[in-house]
């Protein structure tokens, strides 16, 4: 790995046509995230935070600008994102407010699935999944179906799944919205640990700045523009 940023978004603009009007959800946003960095994206509702994650996560192409990974351009307005699925599988992990676990698979299977679809042999996938869940304090929950887990536990299974293929970048949207304050702080603390121990670059969209001290940087969006970018404690 070189010393450059894992993720670099350059002048990203995203417009949505809704009826006759055009909504500019993102308006020339540029930022970088380095390995081991935990970055918060904050801003009022509708300011474009989720849109930013979709574009950084290669789920939507920008209307203008581009997205680079380790310096290589992977997404621009002409990109065919369906063909970036392989890239996504190996390099990006996603965690959302809702855990979105597959309801008919156990916690262990949900995590192992992420590896099996990347051609990891089932036994290895299974073992690694158990290790990951164990590391997140869910060692005894491996065989449980999602409906048997609490919201926080489901969220941690989703985090384990996102980590399964050891991605360089983790994109997280409102992970604490459904959790109470203490658990919310714990989850942010978990991301801090993941960034430190695995060297992953992590972008967390959040409303909740009670855990602000965990973040290396905070980016504030308003109306699709970055209005403020602060370092830790700044």
């Amino acid at each position: 790995m070189n010393g450059g940023p894992v993720l670099a978004v350059r002048d990203a603009t995203r417009r949505y046509a809704s009826g006759d009007t055009v909504v500019t959800a993102l308006d020339g946003v540029s930022f970088e995230v380095h390995a081991g960095e935990l970055v918060a994206v904050v801003g009022p509702s509708g300011s474009g935070k989720s849109t930013l994650l979709l574009i950084a996560g290669l789920l939507e192409p920008p209307s203008a600008g581009d997205v680079r990974f380790h310096g290589a351009r992977v997404s621009d307005p002409g990109a065919d994102l369906d063909r970036l699925r392989d890239f996504r599988r190996r390099n990006i992990g996603f965690v959302f407010q809702k855990a979105n676990l597959i309801p008919f698979l156990t916690a262990g299977e949900n995590v192992a699935l992420a590896m099996e679809i990347d051609d990891v042999p089932p036994r290895d996938a299974r073992r690694h999944a158990e290790r990951l869940l164990d590391g997140l304090g869910l060692g005894s929950r491996v065989g449980n179906l999602p409906t048997r887990l609490s919201g926080g536990e489901q969220q941690r299974v989703a985090i384990a799944r996102a980590l399964a293929n050891d991605p360089a970048l983790l994109l997280v949207d409102e992970p604490t919205a459904a959790l109470d304050g203490r658990r919310g702080r714990q989850v942010i603390g978990l991301f801090r640990r993941i960034a430190d121990e695995r060297g992953a670059a992590i972008v967390v969209v959040t409303h909740d700045l009670r855990a602000a001290d965990h973040f290396d940087r905070t980016i504030e969006l308003i109306d699709g523009r970055i209005v403020d970018e602060r370092g830790r404690g700044g």
Binding site: L59, D86, F104, L105, A112, I117
Partner: protein
């Protein structure tokens, strides 16, 4: 891990009920096809088993199954004199209703020309073939008589000396075999009512024969069954018989085609049409079920795409589930068919080839339905997970 199986295991009861539902459709289709086979098989039973090369029947008639036929009493002796004729048997068949132990029973009473033909070509379920010249019967179990039963028919009492299983005529009446002499006797007896009506008719018109038929009715023999001696020329025998001018000659193939293409034609067409309708219904139901199962999983499918699953994973999940339902339905349908149809009043033949073809149809339907689901699934965008 197998996603399709995991889903089935998770919602097993639901899948099982779905399979039972589709299984009932499979069973209905199996039943329709089996009913068709049964009707054809029943209709051809006598023609195929009785072992006659030629049927000599009333002139100008396609008897004795498609049209009624009555021939004069001496035709059998005349036939025996024709070179190339091996064996000669008289044949008669009449439908009768009679009461036994307070029940009304129906039988297609068929004459065996004893002692030449004692019924040795029948597959007996119990008892023996006809031994005496009179008052013995071999009855099919479907009539409702059992071995040893004594019942009254016309003016005489008959004893069941043997039984068969599943031998019925084209309309489903169980076959009962008596000597041809007994059948003639039964045919000749008419109710008092019939006699009165016949007299009235004779009085009203100036018709010569009291029965209203120009053909001698004394024997009530409807056909003569011939076998050809080895090396005999069928065309020659045929032309000699036809030269008499009062008979028609039908081969076994003629009889088969008369039964299938004339007498049962509409019924066959009807059953086949129903089978077609059923297949269409089955296809629509299977397609809908599989499509709904896919729609239900769109969120999970979007999630799979989000975490980068290849299309192959999604396609396999949908197709495997589709085929699981198809295979389960076929298995359950076959099982239910085998349990239920033997209790149906008419024979339902579950032929391995027919069921294989039905399975192929179900397979194709499952495949197409799966493709329909797949085409929808592949249009899902990963970001729909977030909505």
């Amino acid at each position: 891990m197998n996603l399709a199986l995991a889903d089935v295991r998770h919602g097993f009861l639901r899948f099982f009920l779905t399979m039972i539902g589709v299984g009932f459709l499979v069973m209905a289709a199996t039943g329709m096809i089996g009913l068709y086979r049964g009707i054809v098989g029943d209709a051809l039973l006598i023609v195929d088993r009785i072992g006659a090369d030629l049927w000599v029947v009333q002139g100008g008639r396609a008897g004795p199954f498609s049209e009624s036929s009555a021939i004069s009493a001496d035709v059998d002796r005349r036939c025996a004199g024709v070179p190339g004729v091996g064996s000669v048997r008289r044949f008669a068949q009449i439908s009768r209703q009679f009461s036994f132990e307070g029940r009304e029973l129906r039988a297609a009473i068929t004459g065996l020309d004893a002692p030449t033909d004692r019924g040795d070509w029948l597959t007996l379920a119990s008892g023996r073939t006809l031994a005496a010249g009179h008052f013995e019967a071999i009855a099919d179990e479907s009539i409702g008589l059992r071995l040893g039963d004594r019942f009254a028919l016309a003016h005489d009492d008959y004893t069941v000396v043997g039984t068969t299983r599943g031998m019925v005529d084209a309309s489903g009446d169980g076959l009962m075999f008596l000597t041809v002499a007994d059948v003639s006797a039964i045919a000749r007896t008419r109710s008092a009512e019939e006699i009165l009506l016949a007299r009235a008719a004779a009085g009203a018109t100036t018709a010569a024969a009291p029965t209203g038929s120009s053909v001698p009715q004394d024997g009530k023999i409807s056909a003569i069954l011939l076998t050809l001696s080895p090396g005999a020329d069928e065309t020659e025998v045929r032309s000699r018989l036809l030269a008499w001018g009062d008979v028609a000659v039908l081969s076994r193939a003629d009889q088969r085609s008369l039964l299938l293409d004339q007498r049962l034609w509409r019924l066959r067409l009807q059953i086949l049409a129903f089978t077609g309708v059923l297949m269409v219904v089955m296809s629509i139901v299977i397609s809908l079920i599989i499509y709904m199962l896919t729609l239900e999983k769109l969120h999970q499918i979007a999630m799979l795409k989000l975490i980068g699953a290849r299309n192959r994973v999604i396609v396999a999940m949908i197709l495997e589930q589709s085929y699981l339902i198809g295979a389960g339905a076929l298995g359950l349908g076959l099982l239910m068919s085998m349990l239920v149809f033997p209790h149906f009043p008419r024979r339902v033949i579950i032929a391995p080839l027919d069921f294989t073809l039905l399975s192929l149809v179900v397979g194709v339907v499952c495949g197409l339905a799966g493709l329909l689901g797949i085409s929808r699934a592949l249009r899902v965008r990963a970001q729909e997970v977030l909505s």
